[in-house]
């Protein structure tokens, strides 16, 4: 696969306990020109991100600072779920601006809503398609512009999830949180496969 020498490659961390799905998501991401790291559990993802059990951040010794532009994670995993990972990321001052996408093979409205309310940027129904990869870039670019905004403007004071999310989530998401059913029809038309 040829990539322009100076084109930046965004780095995606993918989390899935299924070896088949890990292979597939890795391929989908690489085909879409992302640099990919794949792990098989939430605890390994947290380790990679330098997030400790107690929620504090520490770069593991010998590892240079991790630069992850997006995290895509399966929902249903043994021990810690994708939702647990999402929560830990949003609770971390260092990592909360990294966009998070949740994948699930099950279309459960309450699950989808729960994830979105916790700050997930997107929810994919499995099996994930190549066309779904196109939906990632806007979230990455939005995340990047958040970084540059924060460095130039006065720092936001609140550490509460909800108010910090208001700055990150686009208008349509806020509206959809109040109208779960119309939101669900948006996803089911594009990704439902049964």
């Amino acid at each position: 696969m040829t990539i322009a020498a100076d084109a930046p490659r965004f780095h995606v961390l993918a989390v899935d306990d299924s070896i088949t799905d890990r292979k597939l998501i890795e391929r989908l991401l690489k085909t879409s020109s992302y640099q990919v790291t794949v792990v098989d559990s939430v605890s390994k993802a947290l380790q990679f991100l330098g997030l400790l059990e107690d929620g504090t951040t520490a770069t593991p010794p010998g590892q240079k600072e991790v630069d992850v532009n997006l995290i895509i994670t399966d929902y249903c995993m043994p021990e810690m779920t994708g939702y647990d990972l999402l929560k830990k990321i949003k609770e971390s001052s260092l990592l909360k601006d990294i966009p998070v996408v949740i994948m699930s093979s099950e279309n459960v409205p309450s699950r989808i809503n729960r994830c979105l309310e916790e700050g997930a940027d997107e929810f994919f129904l499995k099996p994930v398609q190549l066309s779904d990869m196109k939906k990632l870039r806007p979230h990455i670019l939005k995340g990047k512009s958040m970084d540059s905004n924060e460095s130039t403007s006065t720092p936001s004071s609140s550490s509460k999830k909800k108010s910090s999310n208001e700055g990150i989530l686009p208008e349509w998401t806020k509206t959809r949180l109040n109208l779960p059913w119309s939101f669900l029809s948006y996803f089911s038309s594009s990704t439902c496969n049964y």
Binding site: D17, T20, D21, T31, P127
Partner: protein
């Protein structure tokens, strides 16, 4: 020679779609192969088959215990349903759902029946997938040699 292998491959794959072994998700998977090389397909299907084989055996062990842990069995088939959907293994996916239904009812006998059906379906599928892989590699080898 290459044309023959291609014909065989097409016939096999079309037959698998027709008989419900595969669904349109498989098309998506195949389209991810680059430059005609079936490396990704071969690797993915290899992982899928090995992992499925392992989980079916572990589920069988669980179901043969005097006290069955239906939650664990269900967890295996939840995974299998997911991975089979990911590769487009349609009819095998359906048998996984049958096992889960039996697990819900905590019904050992119907669970064992459903498991046997899943094993049978997987055996039929993996046989065909193995032939498909060989044909894909033969077709590619000839094309690459040109």
């Amino acid at each position: 020679m290459a044309a023959f292998a291609q014909e065989q491959l097409d016939a096999l794959v079309n037959g698998m779609y027709r008989e419900g072994f595969l669904d349109e998700q498989f098309q998506q998977i195949r389209a991810l192969d680059e430059g005609g090389s079936p490396d990704f397909l071969v690797e993915l299907l290899g992982l899928f088959c090995a992992d499925t084989d392992r989980m079916l055996n572990e589920a069988a062990l669980l179901l043969n215990q005097p006290i069955v842990d239906y939650k664990k069995v269900d967890a295996y088939f939840h995974q299998l349903k997911g991975s089979s959907a990911s590769v487009g293994a349609h009819s095998f996916k359906l048998t996984c759902m049958l096992v889960r239904d039996s697990c819900d009812k905590n019904d050992k006998e119907s669970c064992l029946e459903a498991l046997n059906l899943a094993k049978q379906r997987f055996y039929e599928l993996s046989k065909r997938l193995n032939i498909m892989i060989q044909l894909e590699q033969a077709v590619y080898a000839h094309k690459a040699g040109k």
